[in-house]
């Protein structure tokens, strides 16, 4: 009896409670989209807000409701593929992005005009007499971007210039919002050529305050209309689909505001004075080659003209020579 009673009591309670649960399950059940949970599992849980929704759970809920699946930049293409898989939609190609500080003027190249005293924050510093830096567009270097970066991807050169380490950047775009001078831009990670200047001042003003500022000479755009555009006295790379990197255009930039990742590592590009010399040499080299090319072309044209005049139509060989030398210049 002492053994049977507990068993009976326990089973009895179980039966009653179970019945109650069964009833509750029938009337109180809430339909929850199981996909939300599945999406939460695959989203990176960085809660960075790059997608524009409050945290990963917010994005997961909106995804089920049918928003653009290609908004999670920290997750990258893998995540997009998985999301597409779960939602049963077509995967879109997500171009991985990184943040880029569009200023190359450290204190050595774009000097300060005064000593700023106050809270160590760019936002606060630019309110005092429009900032301590002579260039009114340039990086103040007090680190508001580094403050908001949770992945320690923002670093500084010795001359107080912020730059983003692409390998650490998860493309959350927090720094973009933090910069009071709007210097930080999200750029496709596979692009190698970037304009590292945001100054919209006329060329002569920029030149006066920064040795590496874009002077809006338009050489790059003239070289490559598809990739570069100069607007408001400021050159920028067209990162849209279709445009491609043209390192030669980077080479023609006289002040050296265009950085070519194929040639230089970002840190050495920003800090090493020797690279400016190297750039000049390469520019001279390019110029010499182009001059030779032009001369050759002229010669060929003249020859062709002559040949035409001589009724011998052999203008072909001179033409392919041009793209060939261009490639060699890379």
């Amino acid at each position: 009896m002492s053994l049977i009673l507990p068993i009976l009591v326990l089973s009895g309670i179980g039966a009653v409670m179970g019945a109650g649960l069964a009833v509750a399950a029938k009337f109180l059940s809430v339909e929850e989209d199981p996909r939300v949970e599945a999406l939460m599992e695959i989203l990176p849980s960085a809660n960075c807000g790059a997608c524009g929704y409050p945290g990963c759970s917010g994005y997961a809920k909106e995804l089920v409701a049918g928003v653009d699946i290609g908004l999670c930049s920290p997750g990258g293409s893998d995540t997009v593929a998985k999301i597409a898989d779960i939602l049963g939609v077509e995967a879109v190609a997500l171009v991985p992005k990184v943040a880029l500080v569009r200023c190359a003027g450290g204190r050595n190249l774009a000097p300060d005009r005064s000593i700023y005293v106050g809270p160590s924050s760019c936002k606060a510093a630019v309110l005092v007499g429009a900032g301590p830096k002579e260039c009114r567009w340039g990086c103040v270097g007090l680190g508001d971007c580094a403050e908001v970066c949770e992945d320690d991807a923002v670093d500084f050169t010795e001359d107080g210039l912020a730059f983003v380490r692409a390998d650490l950047c998860i493309a959350c775009a927090r720094c973009v919002k933090a910069c009071p001078r709007d210097l930080i831009q999200m750029v496709p990670a596979d692009r190698k050529v970037h304009v590292l200047c945001s100054s919209q001042d006329p060329g002569k003003n920029t030149k006066a305050v920064c040795q590496v500022g874009c002077i809006a000479c338009k050489l790059c755009a003239r070289r490559d209309k598809a990739s570069f555009v100069v607007e408001n006295n400021s050159a920028s790379v067209l990162y849209e689909e279709g445009s491609k990197d043209t390192p030669v255009a980077a080479l023609v930039c006289t002040p050296g505001a265009i950085w070519d990742a194929n040639e230089d590592d970002l840190v050495s590009w920003l800090t090493d004075p020797a690279r400016r010399e190297a750039l000049k040499e390469r520019q001279a080299e390019l110029k010499a080659r182009e001059r030779a090319e032009r001369a050759a072309k002229k010669k060929a044209a003249a020859a062709a003209k002559k040949a035409k005049a001589d009724k011998a139509d052999e203008s072909g060989p001179a033409e392919p020579a041009e793209p060939g030398t261009q490639k060699g210049g890379q």
């Binding site: 000097p111 005009r113 000593i115 005293v117 005092v128 006066a208 002077i215």
Partner: protein, 414 residues
Amino acid sequence: MAAEDKETSKNAGPGAASDAGKRTATDSPVEATADSPEEATADSPEEAAPQMLTVASSPHVRSGESTSRIMWTVFACLLPAAGWSVYLFGMKAAIVLATCTGGAVVIESLVQYFTRGRTSVQDGSAALTGLLLALTLPPGASVVICLVGAFVGVVVAKAVFGGLGHNPFNPALTARVFLLIAFPGPMTRWPIPLQALADKPQKLYGQSTSWLDAAGRSLDFANAKTGAALHSLAAKVDVITAATPLAVAKEHWKRGTGELTTYSDYFVGSMPGSLGEVSVILLLLGAAVLLIRGYISWHIPVSFLLGVIVMAGLTHLANPTRYMDPIFHLLTGGVIIGAFFMATDYVTSPTYPLGMVIFGLGCGLLTMIIRLWGGFPEGVSFAILIMNACTPIIERYTRPTRYGLKPWAEPEAS
């Protein structure tokens, strides 16, 4: 001389600018004459550097007051009372003072070293915490007690909350209450200030005091009739303890027995008590300096004392044999040091005048409630800590009315 330097660097400006103008080859005449500063500093940063002006937000002048000056001034204002306690209690008091103050400073430096924070130990807040803590301890407190107290005050009550300015509770009082709970025995052993008594042997004949009786019974104290004998007695015994007047009031008075010393004794400290409660005069002197220099405002101390007086007065009027009079309550225990030095701690008390008055009144009333009906004979520490906890909410509801809400009656439209 410096002005000449400035001139030369200025003169270098247009020249350098014209160079720049030639290089860009754009509109060079204008460029050459432009004396706008960009060119000057951009092309000759080395020359410009020593002449660079500092730029900061207005205002460009300050009152010259600083946190460390305030802290060290309060510290200095407490020193006379501390010195008096050394005179009364001898080396024991000196050891307590030194251990607490030194301990607090050393512990704060260690914390700041290990947390790699900015070293701010020289601002005197740790030293002040240590000194205030020492003044709340009984003279016989051991070195261990002092160090534990300093640790609690500096680390548990302050550093873990984010350091100076962020602690919700008065560090010294937090430490004292911790010690009171942690070491209930040693923290309630109150030595008699023998040295002071020995200088005035007539006290023994003139007055019969309850705590003196208690002590005398155990040590044949009352028979030592001369000062010299008392001195030798003081040298022989390690410590003679007795109840503080407040404890006497609480225990003996309840039973209708026992007598207390005169008010003048409380004033000069001829009674058992903590280091900081034995000299009302010197504490008031220090407080006066703080008040005159504007380091504390009258709101908190006055309302604190008012709260004590009102409660004590009402109860005394209701039943004079059971409850002591207001003056007794003002002069004994930690009311004076509490009202002028503890409750006025900037960080843990309200900043707006109305809030200060509420805070002070609360402290005074709570002190009296604990003294009269609570489990402890003394309630200043608890009262102040409880009111510390209320500070944020007091602060919230006592903000000053901003300018611009005063109604203005437009003159009769003509």
